[in-house]
Symmetry: D2
Subunit: 378 residues, 4 copies
């Protein structure tokens, strides 16, 4: 039996309700189960949701730590959220919650998603499996057979800025990859407004090391990563196909992009530096000032997309720990090229924050609930 993670402090009379989310109407809270809760994406979702006033986390599932409290694995949570970790019990899973957030890698969720859907549950999945419209693209880039291709028809790509209404109705939301979120939000206004040569898009992107997940791997050991900078999976990263799919739908034509991910010696943060040639016939009339206006118009009302003033450039520390995307725009008139800089937290808007944003939409909460932290900066 799992313990109750919402531990009240004892002995302090000012504090009858330690984290503000236990209340008499507990039954009305949305019950959320987090599968793969001890990975970096999972624990960040726990961190966000433990302060969500409308959510009750009813189970944290982590196969490697069954029987330990999650605060033994992440002692930062001690006295705040001490729920016991449980194993994945597929048979009883559907009864454990209303919304299931899967933080395990692609390929695994197939074992229990059909049963959850059958029971009318909602699912937010972090794998690549359900992000694709065309199963062949998935199979080509993931080098794996898709086991549930029929679900691609009902799954919704969980990027609220583009699919908010579909997410609201969805049972199965595929949370986008971090690089695609960062890239698509950065490029979309240029494509939709037909400003750039669609064959010229180059995305040069950098991620903090947490993007690799909490795996034990020589390449991610401290002494191997610190004071080092490198590219990886040059021209072959799976997220390329995800970016191309979404940009293609926005542009209404087939889009291909160069995409090069890099690893920087920091925990969190992602920056995409995006290059595209201005269309010949538009180059003379495009200014940086104009593009800033155009982006602001495009993202009007989108609270998590911040378009910087002309001349300002995003830095990852301004978004680390938050759900924001910061976008800066430079027009190089000398070369008729636009450079868009898009920054987010790979664990925030790039993964866990966005999952909670999706959950808020799916469950009818204000979209920013539990997501208005400004991050730490330092």
């Amino acid at each position: 039996m799992t313990g109750n993670g919402n531990k009240n402090f004892t002995g302090n009379s000012n504090n009858s309700n330690s984290n503000g989310n236990a209340n008499n109407a507990k039954n009305k809270k949305v019950r959320v189960v987090i599968i793969g809760a001890t990975g970096y994406v999972g624990i960040e979702i726990v961190r966000i949701l433990q302060s969500h006033p409308g959510v009750e986390i009813t189970a944290v599932i982590g196969q490697s730590f069954v029987g330990q409290r999650i605060s033994d694995v992440y002692p930062s949570l001690r006295n705040i959220f001490d729920m016991e970790l449980t194993g994945l019990d597929i048979e009883n899973l559907p009864s454990m919650g209303d919304v299931f957030i899967n933080c395990l890698p692609h390929g695994i969720s197939k074992d229990y998603i059909p049963a959850l859907l059958k029971e009318g549950k909602k699912i937010i999945d972090h794998g690549g499996d359900f992000r694709y419209k065309d199963v062949r693209v998935y199979e080509e880039w993931y080098k794996a057979k898709h086991e549930l291709p029929e679900l691609l028809d009902i799954s919704v790509y969980g990027l609220p800025e583009f699919y908010r209404e579909k997410i609201r109705e969805a049972s199965l939301v595929a949370n986008p990859g971090c690089y695609p979120t960062c890239s698509i939000i950065g490029i979309a206004p240029l494509l939709v407004n037909k400003i750039i040569d669609t064959r010229s898009i180059i995305i040069d992107a950098v991620s903090g090391v947490s993007g690799a997940g909490r795996k034990t791997d020589l390449a991610y050991q401290f002494c191997e990563c610190t004071e080092n900078f490198k590219a990886y999976n040059v021209s072959t990263h799976r997220h390329t196909s995800e970016i191309e799919q979404e940009l293609g739908m926005l542009a209404n034509e087939k889009i291909t992009v160069s995409f090069t991910p890099h690893l920087a010696p920091m925990k969190r943060g992602m920056l995409a530096t995006i290059y595209a040639n201005l269309k010949d016939d538009m180059a003379s009339e495009i200014s940086c000032e104009g593009l800033v206006s155009l982006y602001r118009e495009f993202y009007r009302g989108e609270m998590f997309v911040r378009i910087l003033d002309q001349g300002r450039i995003p830095e990852t520390k301004n978004v680390a720990g938050s759900n924001f995307v910061d976008i800066g725009i430079v027009v190089d008139k000398r070369l008729n090229r636009v450079i868009v800089l898009s920054a987010l937290d790979n664990l925030g808007k790039g993964a866990s924050g966005q999952a909670v944003q999706d959950l808020n939409i799916m469950c009818g909460f204000p979209e920013h609930t539990a997501l208005m932290s400004p991050g730490l900066y330092l």
Copy 2:
């Protein structure tokens, strides 16, 4: 005139109240002025208070950035808290708020504290000026004449675990130093319970670089700090006297300690490794298990002091970004010595978090309000 920092998002129908702290009863909020808001202590207070449901920040004062928005200086706050920075206008200061938090270094607040007190305002001060009972100790360790010694009679040392009731009634709270907070909380149960030889206390402590503040100094440049570890101010650090004063009052005798601060290549975090000899006549009956119980009893009801289970050792990442202190205890039976490890965030419980905790007590809010964040861990 300063703008309103509580900017509502526009254009998103789900979000009529972006940060949850504007309400109809706005007049009843405690109006807080932060002096020195762009330093690291100041901005961390802003970060915490912008989500405090009972507080309205009415002015952020930063002499070097007058006229800029605070979110221009710290773009992490963009769209969340965009208040304009103002200069220090001593004449009009009292009318600007109910509580004034001074984050400037020692010696400066003397210019306006008397006027604030005269007007019945509450003050939380981050300098060393009002932490001392004996003005001579201040003057000896700070190598400066104290300009307002008469205020030492009314100022209260802002360590809630020991002075909660006095803080509740205080007009002038001297927020403790980071090293003293970390050390005193770690040592107090040993002294109060008369377990250790009071002449044997050695505090070996380590701080992240943010402890030096947001100053531009060669010693704190990235290339000078990263991949480096060093001690500084060995046996001469001012905080020694503050620690000795408080330990002396707890022990009811004069206490002297060896205190050695070090600088580690990280932003936030502080760890004190504290050594003391067990009293000869008690050594045989003291066990680690027993001390863990004793500490838990001592801090019963203190929500921000977490005594770890026997065998567990604190790490700064578990408290970074939070208001917690984590304490681990080791008894070395071989040497009849106890080693206490005390960890906190030098900007959290070591400065800004504790200031908000004091504010909560002074203003009648639940003590944990706006302080229950678990930190980021990563």
Copy 3:
């Protein structure tokens, strides 16, 4: 009077000659003066040259530390090289050495270079002043009037892989910028072999923080840099013009490039990720394997340029602390685009190491003398 930096150890009978570079033929050593020796470029030259068997450092000039030993400023040099720092005495400067290495920023060396040249001295200059063929390009990108334009006719661009014979005869060598060294070496074989569309070159580059020099600046404080990644000077960095000049001469046509520098949270290291479209008529016959061969042929005999095997990607830790450039090549057949990754140490081959390489050529030493350190990796 300056002391002798080559301090012998005393009292150890095994060690009559502490650093192996004092010998009976001391008079025959090349006497080197380092101007601006306490900056990061300067001190790295000191570090390399103190073990150079054919060089005697005769003066280290550092205006801010006159009278201190250089090992007081950089205690890593204690007991190895303890020479006293002197001020810049322009009148007596020419008599102090045979080769003068200027590590001060652009614009300063004009005060003493003419006198040095008149006396037949050799100069290696680290500023941008003498890197240009066309004074107008310098004045446009540096926003400054050039005071000695007539010297552009005699100055040689100090990139040995392309100007070795001219360097051998030169009196005035302009040491290239770090980004240009990294970029030009990476792109040259593509241009010379006419493989790419010359209008499609995009250079996305990342530097460690030491590239900013040893200046005291808020932006380079530890807490502002660590755990942060950002671009800067997007499309306006001065090195763009230097890259374009050299690529233009290699291609025999005007070349323009997009160049975006970024700052990564590490001390040393630079990586350029370079994109270019393959020419339409060549795309089908270009393979990664073929390009690796072509690069190896192009750089045959160049000991400091390491072309990696197909499938391997450079990392900055492999070149940090060394004078090597590591180059990896990827051909994206899907997009007919080549991606070249070029890595060096911004203080090694990107500045100080290359200066020593130039010095070796100018003075007739084997080119690798004092430069065969493999770097630390960790």
Copy 4:
């Protein structure tokens, strides 16, 4: 068959001898075999020895990478030292070299050390096995049975500052641990001169992460280590017993010490902050100035021990990458306590550098050969 690691560059006429250590008298070089060459201690020995003029590395043994070149595992060595890694072939091992440096953990070398000794070979061992005089101490602290206790009579503790003459004659040298080297050198002058209360010694020490070796372990992943500081093995670390043994012999009495190791977020570097009470009868006459003189006298002629001027404090960046130990001394007259700060590179003087120093002594080379690098500082 293993390749020759000393690869000549081709095609550059200036460079007939790339790394300066191949010569006609090759037969006279000392042939060194490195067992466990791909760990951090092993590779640092390779890095140092590849530039040693009197040494030929004849084999690099690394079970996990047999058949790969060592420069495939550490690409920093590419073109400098490309020798192929071989497995451990115990039968043929003795014929492969003159000196064998074992970098594998304790317990493993027992399988081949007897055979090597029988063949008259010299061995430098990095495990704890042969550092002890009393086998019971080893067995108690290492929780393991010692398989070759008879060798403790012939093994020599490889700390040249104390055992130089024994090392010169030794067949089996046990290279000291990093913490013991740092601590013993820091404390010895106090003990030998009978200045301190021998029961009051406390060693609070900090290491960079490379001290944990090149193992793949969750605790040493980048995201778990960076921005974190912690203690570990408090009062139970094995090195305690090694420190106590050596200090006991210096003091001619049984010595016990408190020893607390910590982990700092950096690659290399170690700092020990050592506390001891001055003897009551000596306290009045001991000054910092006096102790600095006493330390300098004690270490006269020791080229790798640098006693800092009064008022200066060591920092790890000054010794990182070098074989130096920097020692600073503070006397706290207020408390009659001395604080000694001792800094070294855990992979330099703390492991690999010291092994080469031992090798130089054992083989009759000048003791500083290949060890005079000042480190990188940055």
